[in-house]
């Protein structure tokens, strides 16, 4: 259930503006990869190119290749909708559908696509997804209540359960804990540790401690200045990045000298 991602010479544009330049990267299956870097360095933008969410923004486009198990996502006849079913995403702020119950939120990927599913299958899928998101015990008594009634941390785990329910190969997380309190953050980090058994996980984070706690590999992005494109500066094992980086800028950043 997990796949290898290869990125080759990727340039990301918003209209004429080059936001991220020349990224080459390989992400191993069943691992957690963290993207770190100062604000505006393009890590979120780059993350969104991995499931073609980038092009939802009008005028946004991409040059280069992103291969998932050898298949180029940006091949002309690839359907972005099918890409997104294989590469799930969790957003910065929890965004459960306000019109749906907890249960319907988990099954949203199935129901919104008009796919037929028997009730027993649906219940089984929902329970499995909620259990893998470590949420089942907290919400099993209020599955029919609105999803927006949960706490922030629960909502975020609900969103993870929703992403898992469509059985993706890869899960992208865009600063999933930045809107949460420390306890909920810990719960999500534990969950990431468990999910990595089955999924390839890529996580953007502002929090370097978080990156060092949860990730196997870390990529450091930086920009030369405002208006310049973001670049991948260094990509290595997390321990190397934090203890013995090979680039000066990385060392400055992880030691808190800027950013």
């Amino acid at each position: 259930m997990s796949k290898r991602i290869e990125v080759r010479d990727l340039n990301v544009y918003y209209g004429k503006f080059l936001a991220v330049e020349g990224v080459n990267m390989e992400i191993e299956p069943r691992s957690v990869t963290a993207f770190i870097g100062p604000s505006g360095c393009g890590k979120t933008t780059f993350l969104r190119t991995l499931n073609r969410m980038h092009e939802v923004v009008p005028g946004a486009r991409v040059e280069g290749e992103v291969l998932i198990d050898g298949n180029n996502l940006y091949d002309p006849d690839v359907d972005p909708v099918l890409v997104r079913r294989q590469v799930g995403m969790v957003f910065q702020r929890p965004n459960p559908f306000p019109t749906m119950s907890v249960k319907d939120n988990v099954l949203a990927g199935v129901k919104l696509n008009n796919r037929r599913i028997s009730k027993s299958d649906a219940d089984e899928l929902m329970e499995r997804s909620l259990r893998s998101a470590n949420l089942w015990n907290e919400v099993k008594d209020r599955l029919d209540r609105p999803g927006s009634g949960l706490s922030g941390g629960q909502q975020q785990r609900l969103c993870i359960a929703r992403a898992i329910a469509v059985s993706p190969e890869v899960i992208l997380m865009d600063e999933p804990c930045s809107a949460l309190d420390p306890i909920s953050t810990l719960a999500i980090e534990d969950l990431i540790e468990e999910l990595k058994q089955d999924y390839t996980i890529v996580i953007v984070t502002h929090n370097m401690q978080q990156a060092s706690r949860v990730s196997d590999r870390t990529a450091f992005f930086n920009i030369a200045g405002t208006g310049k494109p973001g670049k991948l500066i260094e990509y290595d094992d997390t321990t190397t990045i934090f203890s013995n980086p090979s680039v000066k800028a990385t060392e400055d950043y992880v030691s808190g000298r800027f950013g």
Binding site: D77, V78, L82, Q86
Partner: protein, 312 residues
């Protein structure tokens, strides 16, 4: 799972195409409708523009002599209405936004909005039945005591159904929309500006004068212009309240009053036939052009404000 590596292939999505297609279609229907309105009105108006009293019995001499007093009446009545509604609407908007208790503000807003919900025909009925008799004594008093002032020259109308009464009804009818816009703009005043003024020891009025009104100026202007647009096109209330004779006069209180384009159409159309219909449609076209210009002016002010204010 990884062995059965799925090749991601494009799939046609008829749903997407049908849906976006129908959205574009609906949008284009608006284009078509407006074009149709313009074309049909122009086609039906053309015969009337150069008609004389020989072609259409409704015309005194030619079309322009007929429509001239109507345009005057329309603009005059609307201008009077605006003159009355503007200060009141600013007052109400300030009352709701800066004077009334916060909890009451939205309720008071609803109450003013209720005025907008009253159909114009009911305003007409009220104008004749209640307002005109109520203001008639005031009119007599004005003519008796201030008759030297040209606008108040006599003889006074016995029914009170003068252009001033019509303008009062129009003012009441445009109040809600003007108040709503003014209120919105006043509420958008940056709190920092207001607090800065208060912290300097300003009274509430000085705070409003120095912070709220300058910020809301272009909003007030566009509210006035939109209100003017409404007043220009308002039909039934004027048609019922005003006892018009088609004269060209500024006098407010006599029984000799100019009519307005819209009211004239409503009153003459049910009995019109042949070329007279074209004449009336042509006056409608002129009304359309005038209101279009007025509204376009209002939008232009609004868009300019958006560009220049940092608050949006």
């Amino acid at each position: 799972m990884s062995t059965a590596s799925t090749v991601i292939k494009a799939k046609q999505r008829p749903g997407d195409r049908v849906f976006s297609g129908s959205a574009v279609f609906a949008g284009s229907m608006i284009l078509v409708t407006l074009a149709a309105v313009a074309i049909f009105l122009i086609v039906q108006s053309l015969p009337a523009l150069f008609a004389t009293s020989e072609d259409a019995s409704i015309l005194p001499t030619n079309f322009w002599a007929y429509v001239g007093p109507l345009i005057f009446g329309t603009v005059w009545a609307s201008a009077l209405a605006l003159l009355m509604a503007l200060p009141v609407s600013i007052g109400i908007a300030l009352f709701i936004s800066h004077y009334a208790p916060r909890r009451l503000a939205s309720v008071l807003g609803y109450i003013v909005d209720l005025l907008a919900a009253v159909p114009s025909v009911v305003f007409g009925l009220w104008g004749i039945g209640v307002l005109a008799p109520a203001v008639q004594p005031l009119y007599s008093w004005l003519v008796d005591n201030l008759g030297w002032f040209p606008l108040f020259a006599g003889p006074v109308s016995g029914t009170g159904r003068t252009i001033l009464t019509a303008a009062i009804v129009l003012a009441v009818m445009v109040l809600p929309i003007m108040t709503a816009i003014n209120r919105e703009v006043f509420l958008q005043t940056p709190v920092l500006h207001e607090e800065a003024a208060l912290a300097l020891g300003a009274t509430r009025w000085e705070m409003i004068r120095t912070a709220v009104l300058p910020f809301g100026r272009s909003g007030i202007i566009s509210a006035s212009v939109l209100g003017l647009g409404r007043a220009l096109g308002e039909t039934m209330a004027v048609a019922m309240v005003l006892s018009a004779s088609g004269a060209l006069t500024f006098e407010l209180l006599t029984s000799v009053n100019p009519s307005t384009i819209a009211a004239n159409i409503a009153l003459s159309f049910p009995e019109a036939y042949g070329p007279n219909v074209n004449v009336l449609i042509a006056t409608g076209l002129i009304l359309f052009i005038v209101t279009f210009a007025v509204n376009a002016f209002a939008r232009w002010i609004v868009s300019r404000r958006k560009e220049f204010s940092g608050a949006n």
